[in-house]
Subunit: 350 residues, 5 copies
């Protein structure tokens, strides 16, 4: 939430980049393809990317590193993007959303990827503008998750070269949702590990891990619900930009998103169960500890009292002068101890 | 969730079998029947199963063990199944769903059966494609739960031979839901057992069993809610494939599914109650243990102090030289002990 | 849930009686009435009960003890009842439901009555088939709760003799809902009793009672929600069988059912509160116990250490040879004890 | 719930008064007013209150103490009130509800007033029947909360004398909702008091107060939700009885009711927070107590063991014969005690 | 809730100011602007602010400090504001709401600003009346958060000078929602701080802070949900006052409000997690304390018993006369102690 308050008091539609990395220049990558044709090039000026209206090529304009506000503003003018949409593209705290205009479609999503080195998830915002024969993607960082998709376009794998810009947009979203699955797998593995450890060897260090896991799932849930909203609005959309051939794919994507949402929800419950298990295990341990303390105390405190009696220095203590007094007392104490143990057995404490 | 990430980055509609068992060949079993006629045979090639459009026979094509991707793909071509549907058939992590196309109906469900030997539930995915005069079932494993249904067809029991493919599809789903009932019974029994043990003889081993039961019910719930969604979409469907004679049966099935969902929900609550009971019982035990410890300590600690006093080695301790000193002190201590017991009685601790 | 699995694998519409009591023969009681006329008789064969279509008499055919499957099947044929409805009548684990067909109306409800002897509730299933000029009731047991209603018909009390079969059906349901009120009263009384005991004299035996009460309320809730569903469907029904004069009564019944549902829900919350109160009271008790233990230990453990010092057998211990050594030590210990008590007072533990 | 079961088994529409106070006679108070005219009188017979259809005066017929069933029945006949509505008027356990008939409007509400003497809330049922030029109110008790309203009518304050019966009905409901505000204030004050005490000086007596407060809020909630339902049905009602000039007032009333509902809901959460706070404070106290016990025990138990060693009566114990043995041991014990204290400091227990 | 009960029993539409600060006079600030023109002045009488119907200037009439009821009443007459709306303006306990009339639009909102000095949030009510060419704002206090907006109007920054009164109203609401973000940031920071402290150095003082934070979030939530309701009603409104150019801005505002609501909800959950963490950490600490107590007691209590035995004064105790008796007993006790430690190691307590 920190970055968003930078914008307090500014007029609506002000372009403020709320991201951290400020490289000097945006990177623009342009892929153009049709059934027969494919080209990929790095473009220096956004002006060179505007497709002519009659072009039957699909243009994928991939803009990365968003700190160059002028280019973004120029893109807005060239592709007729509403200033508020431009503002959303630059505001990296944007909630996933979809917006329809007569000539284009605007989607903001969160990309999740799992950072194995630091054992945490990276979240990056991607904005997708879909027009008749172009798709513009705005990404925060330079590395992305779409290399597989680029290869599929280049090598003409599957339907993508035969279909239009809407299918490209779908493919982008499908890739993003696929990466949510990987996140879910990681979290699922962590839950299973924690569960196993809790049942075999619970210790207090697990509490922090459960807590962090819980928080991570909570944050995931926060981006997953609006994602689902976006996809299901897309499915029900009545936009000319989305062709009927793409619709079954979007329905399929919607199913995937539903699985993601339901899995996150069940993870939430599993996390709650983990904490419950942790607490109950802790309670059981305390009970066990208290039982041992009580058994030891209950056996020895009365016996210690008895030996205390015969440690008193009264001159007239007849028992101390009996020949077998010592052994009689030892015997009595053994009996008391045995009685106590029998009592605990009956109480099922031993 | 593990298997689904295999598919990350693949193009949509890629056929990837996510199951474990990879037998070399699919098994195809073909049952054809009409009012007068019945035949059952094992077919080697899926091509031989395609019914002619005018056939009045119902064809049940039962395909088991799905690792032979070529046959599945061929089935897709022969029966005009959308590639995304084929992908769903092979993806064993699919969420129960239903899809309508003009000529056919596609349902994915989870079959549950209780494995008595290992005392756990087996879950298997089944995909059902319903056409005008055929039903295709895709099953993961070779053994299934439909032997009773096959006998009913063979022996012409009930309505099945008089009705069409939609009624066969209904019968399959009805059998699946019936097996959910068995699962519910097993869980219900376990809950009752645990409850009885908790009330009579609670011990810490029950915690694991409650936890496992809770998890099992959670997973069951995850597959039961979409099941209900599927059946209720089927009930409200306005498809030419479903005849009005079959509709009351589907309504009945919907009722059964509602009972399953409500029972699962009430089991969820009962499980939560069990855990609560476990915790409270544990707390009560701790209280009892602490009370005993406190009673013993509170009685004997002051007495031990008194005997300690007379164990001191001061030269000038007048009481030690009194003739009845020892007995007076014993008496005083007996009084203190009795006073303590009276105090605990009044506090209702004894 | 136990009985329902008997039916697994059977064809839909199979008549299986899932009840316990298997008397040899069904009992059929026929009441016929109109404004001027009233007759009541025991009928041996269901065939004798079929009213002619033009009859203006209302026929109440009350069938009890359902183990005679042939009679049930015959009733199905005579009154044109769908096999699935017949199956529901015999399946005593049926969820309350309502079904409309052009010529008749089918309702399944649960009757609750409180068994004072065993201090528990009895649940019995009743199925009601309403036709143009007849009402058929199927009951599991021979004794029922409708004697008051029969008297009102016989003695021509209220509207019942002036109105038609739908009003009779309403009266049956109204009687059933009235008995829910009695159940609610009993549970309400139990909650109040438990509450009072928890606040005045909490003990561990109350836990079981709270738990049983919770479970009882949970089961009640499970049958109350579908009851409400049934009644509200009936209210909104657009059936020719329900006359406009009966509608305000059904609306009134709907209000009553809403009160039942809301009361059950508030009982659920009260039960949760009871458990919370129980737990907190238990915690308070533990705290008190621990405080006493701590006070006693903290006072006497240091004192016992001091007397231990002077019980040591060193040859050179100057204090032991002082004339007033013993009394000085006693005085020091008294001071320490008083200091401790002052400390506990300041901590508000005493 | 107790009173409602009196009516079990009676025919619907039976007039049974379920209230407690049975004064011999109803009190009827008749207020008639128009722009210019005002009169107030006590009427002995309900027959004298029926306004002529063309009268342009508004008649407020206020009937109190409902045990005189004949008068109620007569009112029903004179004003054409449905028997089921009459039954609801007499049944003081009625849920707040609204019912529309072509010629009149029937509302049941709960009046809450705070009884300062006994520090609890009083709940009374009021039924309002609104006709073209009359409003009938049925109240359980003789004293009510409408004196301010009567004065406003008499002294011609505000709109009331210029508007019609529907505005009078609105004014009655508005007064009732205003009294809910007072209840909310009282509960809010109690919550704040409890909170302050919990944070400054928690003690076990607060538990009962929290519990009673929780229950009170629960009961308030039970009557507040249906109240809101009633008011919002009234807002959306399309009745000829409600004039467009009154509609903004009813919308305003609806807003007030929403505030009441939301405040009750937030009180529910605050109550839950109070209990949580109570529990956590209790836990903290227990921890503190246990820490003191542990510190004392851990320091003195080993020391007591050491002094015990030198209290043994072995003949050959070299240390006891050393000249400085006693002082060496005292020194060692001082070191051990200091070490323990250092250890607790490091553990942050001291 | 305290202030609102002042109004109990008053007629609806009574003007009662429920705020605290009663300065003698309202302050009226009038800003008039169009594309070319801008003027700002302090007005003494509300009568001088009424714009002529044909004026194309936008008039922002900012009224502060509401205790001068006559001016408010006059404003009501001049701008044709319904008395109930006037009442809402003066009632500072009003719930955020929106009301449409043919000629104007009425919005009540809560302004939140964070008071850094006292480390708490200030809440102030603002009422906005939007007409064709005027916006009236009613504010409780004299200082506000709109200075940035005034500058933007004066310096002609952004769209505001080119658009009409509806855009001014939007800008006011946008500024208010921006300040909610700042509140959220503050709360988010506090949550993070508390979390860090809980994980590194938990202490009992944190409980109060968690509790206060929880309450603060609860109150924030109470004003945030109706805010969202207001904005989303505004978005869906079909009012002539809102031009199509302003609509995308309102949609954007709606998105922002959704983020606020979702963030508040996730803060609620994080707070609950914090408390859970606090409790669990406390429990862990108790367990650790108890373990240490138990270890110390369990080791030394039996040893103290043994030394007690040899402190008894029996005349016939053979061991005491053995030459190495003392050392043998010391050895035995060392073995017992070591055995205990080995036992605790195996139990993983050490």
């Amino acid at each position: 939430m920190k970055k968003i308050s930078k914008k307090t008091g500014l007029q609506p539609g002000s372009l403020v980049y709320t991201g951290r990395k400020r490289s000097t220049r945006v990177k623009i990558n342009l892929i153009q393809y049709s059934k027969e044709h494919f080209s990929e090039k790095v473009v220096s000026e956004i002006q060179h990317c505007v497709p002519s209206g009659e072009s039957i090529m699909v243009n994928w304009i991939d803009i990365k590193a968003l700190s160059d506000l002028q280019t973004i503003e120029m893109a807005g003018k060239l592709f007729d993007i509403h200033p508020l949409v431009l503002e959303d593209i630059l505001n990296l705290e944007q909630r996933p959303k979809i917006e329809f205009s007569p000539k284009s479609l605007f989607v903001v999503l969160k990309m999740l990827s799992y950072n194995d080195k630091e054992d945490k998830s990276d979240m990056e915002q991607i904005s997708i503008v879909v027009g008749k024969n172009y798709v513009i993607t705005f990404q925060e960082n330079e590395d992305d998750i779409f290399d597989g998709l680029r290869k599929r376009i280049k090598n003409n794998v599957g339907y993508i070269r035969n279909l239009e810009a809407d299918y490209l947009a779908y493919s982008l979203m499908d890739t993003i949702v696929d990466y949510y699955y990987i996140m879910l797998e990681k979290i699922g593995q962590k839950i299973e590990e924690l569960e196993e450890q809790l049942l075999s060897n619970p210790n207090s260090e697990l509490l922090n891990r459960i807590y962090i896991l819980k928080r991570e799932t909570l944050l995931l849930r926060k981006s997953v619900w609006p994602l689902r909203e976006v996809i299901s609005k897309l499915e029900r959309a009545d936009s000319q930009l989305i062709h009927s051939t793409t619709l079954p794919f979007i329905r399929d994507l919607n199913d995937h998103t539903t699985i993601v949402v339901e899995t996150v929800e069940s993870y939430m419950e599993m996390n709650a169960n983990l904490l419950e298990l942790y607490l109950t295990t802790g309670n059981n341990k305390l009970n066990e500890v208290m039982k041992i303390l009580t058994i030891i105390s209950t056996i020895f405190i009365p016996l210690t009292f008895i030996v205390g009696i015969y440690g008193m220095n009264f001159e007239n203590m007849p028992e101390t002068r009996w020949k077998w007094g010592y052994f009689i007392i030892l015997g009595i104490m053994a009996l008391i101890g045995a009685g106590m143990i029998w009592f605990f057995r009956r109480k099922k404490w031993l």
